[in-house]
């Protein structure tokens, strides 16, 4: 069985409003895709994504697996946090096996 992987550019992500972005990601994941976001999601967006996921958990969709490089501080007075990359997939297909500051290893299975 094939697994579709969607690599979303930073430009595409930045063109969407926050809620629109989360809906886009979750719809992709619920369709069985692995979604890789260039630029990533902020911690607040990831928390909202978890909340949205919990609303939609069902017998067939147990949730998501999410991994990302931690954000870096940047901008004026180091307040603005720069995100880097986020990978989101269906929990039944994706499993993070190792995660570090600059490395994410995941296993993706078709089951």
């Amino acid at each position: 069985m094939e697994i579709e992987m969607c690599l979303i550019s930073k430009d595409k992500m930045e063109s969407m409003a926050s809620t629109e972005k989360l809906r886009f990601v979750l719809d992709g994941v619920k369709s069985g895709n692995i979604v890789v976001l260039e630029g990533g999601l902020t911690a607040e967006e990831q928390m909202k994504l978890i909340e949205l996921t919990m609303i939609e958990v069902s017998d067939d969709f147990p949730g998501i697996e999410i991994s990302g490089y931690p954000s870096k501080r940047g901008g004026f007075f180091n307040i603005r946090r720069k995100t880097r990359l986020t990978v989101v997939g269906p929990a039944q297909k994706m499993k993070t096996i190792k995660k570090g500051k600059d490395l994410i290893s995941t296993i993706i299975s078709s089951s």
Binding site: Q46, M47, I50, I55, P62, I66, A91
Partner: protein, 230 residues
């Protein structure tokens, strides 16, 4: 002269207590399922309120806590309380930290809740599905509570890899909201415990190794809480 000074100080304290009484700070105990959040909440209540009062029940089944439980008006007073800590150094300077807080015990944060996982603990399908549904509601409730708390006690299981996205997301949110966080590396009594891994993963935060179950290092945690959350 001395008596007048003491009277003046006493009156000043009374006025302050009457008009400027500090509200209890709401401290959320957050973390992944099975990190020991309810065990820690119970430990705090047993030590400072009533040894027979429980905030919740802890079991080995994940998502045992599926509703946020708030226990208000807990007075941590290390000077007044004869805290028995078997690992503390008897020669160490006695900690006199004080803090009035509301303990908010939250359901474990997770990105995935599969009813089939509960069936592995002997539940039938109907019970497992009900528990999964309640657990998802619990996660949502825990996230919503982040808007109302003044500080976070992030509990991690020190026998597990701390670098999970859930931990990273909680810390990221607290930093963005400028809410103070203390990380407690729980289960230090277990042989596989490695609090240093947590310290290495989150070097910008205070990490206190504890055993909520055995009561190890609790005085250190309470002292840090009084300092950070005051």
């Amino acid at each position: 002269m001395m008596i007048r000074k003491r009277m003046r100080e006493g009156f000043s304290r009374w006025i302050k207590a009457l008009f400027f009484r500090k509200k209890a700070v709401k401290i959320g105990i957050y973390g992944p399922p099975n990190a020991g959040k309810t065990t820690l909440a119970n430990r705090i209540i047993h030590t400072f309120v009533d040894e027979n009062e429980d905030v919740g029940v802890s079991t080995e089944v994940p998502h045992e806590t599926r509703r946020v439980v708030r226990r208000g008006e807990v007075q941590i007073d290390l000077a007044a309380n004869s805290l028995q800590n078997p690992t503390s150094n008897p020669n160490a300077k006695r900690n006199k930290a004080k803090l009035k807080l509301d303990v908010v015990d939250t359901p474990g944060l997770a990105t995935k809740i599969d009813f089939r996982d509960f069936m592995a603990y002997g539940m039938d399908e109907e019970d497992a599905k009900r528990r999964a549904k309640e657990a998802t509601e619990g996660v949502i409730e825990a996230i919503k509570w982040l808007d109302d708390i003044d500080g976070v006690l992030l509990l991690m299981d020190s026998t597990e890899d701390p670098y999970t996205q859930t931990n990273v997301v909680i810390i990221g949110n607290m930093e963005a909201r400028r809410i103070p966080v203390i990380i407690a590396a729980n289960k230090m009594d277990l042989p596989d415990s490695a609090p240093q891994r947590i310290k290495n993963a989150f070097p910008q935060h205070h990490v206190i190794p504890i055993s909520a179950l055995k009561g190890d290092n609790m005085e250190l945690l309470y002292g840090e809480m009084a300092k950070t959350f005051k």
